[in-house]
Each structure stands twice: as structure tokens, then as C-alpha cells.
């Protein structure tokens, strides 16, 4: 690169200046070098670990195998798994059968418990909800003298005509006395005792339809003009 003569003088002075600057002080240079070597050791350690990890990663890669070899290995593995499963099932066959038996048994019990009560099968009454009164039809219960059973049996069943029912009604009437004596009149339909009249109404001719109304009082004083 060409310079003017004056510029060449400047360039010459600059190149002289190059040798004039101070050198690296030896103590500073030694200290800096020691620190550099220390950093170099740390970096080398880190890179050594990193290189080890890289090598491990490379070693962990799947080996190059042919497809035929891999197919054979897969089938061998599958056969081994099936054989092991069969062997285990053979050795523990009793327990397996017991477990299956238990499972099936439990399911049967559940089916039975979910079925309707036998009463509905015995009595084919349609349109009537099953009531405890039907249990009275059992001959063994008709002989029993328990008040609750008889009391319940006294409930008339509409639309049902049965010989047993009539028989039970008569026995109920006989036994209702015991209930009255016990002071438990109850408030069931048809069982409330009718109140007894102490007085006979004086005038029943005027109002036959309104028997419940009290009789008119005709004892008014006559009007005087």
C-alpha cells in the first residue's frame, strides 16, 4: 500500500512506537498463567464428563441388526412369554379355579337376592300391593292370637273376595274387644268406635236430612203488639 512521503514518515514513527510500549510484568504474567491453567483444568474436567456422556449415549444406541434377526428374537421372546404364562397357570390351577368359582357364585347370589318375594308368586292378586294381611291367609297364622296380626288382617281388601278373608273378619271383631280394653283404640279406618248418644233428639221430623244439626229452639216468647 503506497503512502505519501509525509505519510511514510508518520508510518515509520508509528512502527517505532510499536517497540516502545511496556511489556507484560512478569509477576502479573505468572499469576495470569496460573489462573489460566486452573481454568483449563476445570474446562478439561467438564469436557471429560461431557465426552463420557457422549460416549455412553453413542454406546446406548440400538445396535445395527438385520430385520430377520430381530424377527427371530421377537418370536423367541413371544414363545417364552406364552410358555411362562402356561406354566404358571398350570401350577396355580387350583387357585385359579377357586377364584373363578368364587366369582361365579357371587354372581348367582346376587341374582337370587334381586328376585321378588315369594308372596307375590303365591298370591296372584293383581292391582293390590302386597300387604302383611296376605300373610294371614297362612292357616298357621289364623290360629295365633297375637293382636297385631289379627288387627292387620282386619283390614278389608277391596275387590277381593275370599273365604279366608271373611273368616278373619269375624275373628277380628271378636278380638277387637281386647284392643278396646287395652285402651288402644287406634285411628284406623273403620275401627274408630262410634260415640254413643246419651240423649235422643227431640224433633226428628223436620230435618231428616240434617241430623247432625242441633234442633231449633222453638221456645221463643210470643210477640206482643
Amino acid at each position: 500500500m503506497g503512502f505519501d512521503p509525509q505519510d511514510k514518515e508518520i508510518v515509520r514513527l508509528l512502527t517505532r512506537l510499536k517497540d516502545a510500549d511496556g511489556k507484560y510484568p512478569p509477576d502479573l504474567l505468572d499469576a495470569r498463567r496460573q489462573r489460566y491453567l486452573k481454568q483449563m483444568g476445570q474446562i478439561g474436567l467438564g469436557t471429560g464428563v461431557r465426552a463420557g456422556l457422549n460416549n455412553a449415549g453413542k454406546a446406548g444406541k440400538t445396535p445395527v441388526l438385520s430385520s430377520a434377526t430381530s424377527t427371530v428374537l421377537e418370536s423367541v421372546l413371544l414363545v417364552a412369554i406364552v410358555a411362562e404364562t402356561g406354566t404358571v397357570a398350570y401350577f396355580y390351577r387350583d387357585k385359579v379355579a377357586e377364584v373363578f368359582h368364587k366369582i361365579t357364585k357371587e354372581s348367582r347370589v346376587q341374582e337370587v337376592s334381586s328376585s321378588p318375594s315369594p308372596v307375590s308368586t303365591g298370591q296372584e292378586i293383581q292391582g293390590v300391593t302386597p300387604s302383611p294381611a296376605l300373610s294371614v291367609t297362612n292357616p298357621s297364622l289364623t290360629l295365633s292370637a297375637s293382636p297385631t296380626a289379627i288387627e292387620l288382617s282386619s283390614t278389608p281388601i277391596p275387590g277381593v273376595v275370599d273365604e279366608n278373608n271373611t273368616i278373619n273378619t269375624s275373628s277380628t271383631q271378636a278380638l277387637n274387644v281386647n284392643n278396646v280394653n287395652n285402651g288402644n283404640n287406634g285411628h284406623h279406618y273403620g275401627q274408630t268406635p262410634k260415640p254413643e248418644r246419651t240423649k235422643e233428639p227431640k224433633n226428628n221430623n223436620n230435618n231428616n236430612n240434617n241430623n247432625d244439626k242441633p234442633p231449633k229452639d222453638n221456645s221463643k216468647p210470643p210477640k206482643t203488639r
Binding site: D7, K18, D21, G22, M40, I43
Partner: protein, 185 residues
């Protein structure tokens, strides 16, 4: 000792011998360059430490220079100096050079006294007249002997731009030196 490309390749593989050789070869030069720019021996030493620490990190990460290690080191040093100069404006450039000349390394003949006066004028002109870019280019080109291309890579500008900066810097120095010499005479 390994040299050139083989040294760089060995350093990329984190060869301790190569890394140590790189430090021994370039640390004094980087220190001198940094000292010219920042004019503080402690700061220059710290920058040298930062330069080589970054070099180790780059090599450790699998990066770093591939071809020109010297330019790479100077470029790193240049950026570190620029960053520091932005943080701390230091206005006493090239004091060390002036002190070196004042300490009497040269024999006090008449011609040498004249040259010493010119050198001091040159140092003063570099300190006061040149812009930062011009000073960097002048130092890299004539004190560190980098080519235009290498200087352009270090500073991060085009070669033509470096040429322009260099010529303007020299012109400023010439003008300042002529004026100062006229004043001295």
C-alpha cells in the same frame, strides 16, 4: 511446539499443551495491545484473563476460531476494551509509551532527542486528534501489524471502510504533527 493450524486443531481438542502454548505465545501481545488502548496495566491484565477465559469456554463448547487464532484473540480483546471504555471513560491514552520514552531507553543524542520529540508529538496527536475508530485502526495496522482484512474482521467493518479510516487517521496525525512541530520550532 505445534504451530499454526495444527496448534489450533489441538487446542480445539482441548489439548493442554496446545492451550498453554497459545497463552504463552499470545498473552504478552494481547497485553501490549490492550495496554495501548486502555493504558492501565491492571485493566490490561484483566482483559487478557477475560480473553483467554472466553477462548477456553468457546473451545469447551466446541466453538471458537477455525482459521485465524490471532485475529480472534485481538477481536475479543478489542470488544472487551470497547465495552470497558463505554463503562469507564479513560482519557489518558498511550501514557505508558510516553513514560517509556521519558525513562531514557534511547541514548540522548541530538537526532534521538529530535525523534523523541516527534514520538511524543505523535503520541499526543493519537491521544487527542484521532477518533476511537481511527486510533484502533492505526494501532492494529501499524503497531500490531495486522492486514487490512484482519483489521476489518477484528473491528467488524468492511475493508474499504478500514482504508478510509486509516487514511483519515494518518492525515490527522500528519497535520497535528506538522502543527506541533511548527510550534516547537
Amino acid at each position: 511446539m505445534k504451530e499454526g493450524v495444527s496448534l489450533l486443531k489441538a487446542a480445539q481438542k482441548l489439548d493442554e499443551e496446545a492451550l498453554t502454548a497459545i497463552f504463552d505465545q499470545f498473552a504478552p501481545a494481547i497485553y501490549k495491545y490492550t495496554l495501548r488502548l486502555c493504558h492501565d496495566s491492571i485493566v490490561a491484565d484483566n482483559i487478557v484473563g477475560d480473553v483467554f477465559a472466553q477462548l477456553l469456554e468457546q473451545f469447551g463448547a466446541g466453538k471458537g476460531p477455525r482459521t485465524n487464532l490471532r485475529s480472534y484473540l485481538y477481536q475479543t480483546a478489542y470488544h472487551l476494551v470497547v465495552d470497558r471504555s463505554r463503562d469507564n471513560q479513560h482519557t489518558a491514552p498511550l501514557e505508558v509509551a510516553a513514560e517509556t520514552y521519558a525513562s531514557g531507553q534511547f541514548a540522548p543524542t541530538q537526532s534521538q532527542i529530535e525523534e523523541r520529540v516527534m514520538m511524543e508529538a505523535l503520541i499526543s496527536a493519537m491521544n487527542t486528534e484521532l477518533t476511537e475508530d481511527q486510533r484502533h485502526v492505526i494501532i492494529l495496522r501499524f503497531l500490531e501489524d495486522f492486514s487490512l482484512k484482519e483489521t476489518a474482521e477484528i473491528i467488524g467493518k468492511e475493508v474499504n471502510n478500514i482504508k478510509v479510516i486509516q487514511n483519515r487517521g494518518i492525515a490527522k496525525l500528519r497535520k497535528a504533527m506538522g502543527l506541533q512541530l511548527e510550534e516547537d520550532w
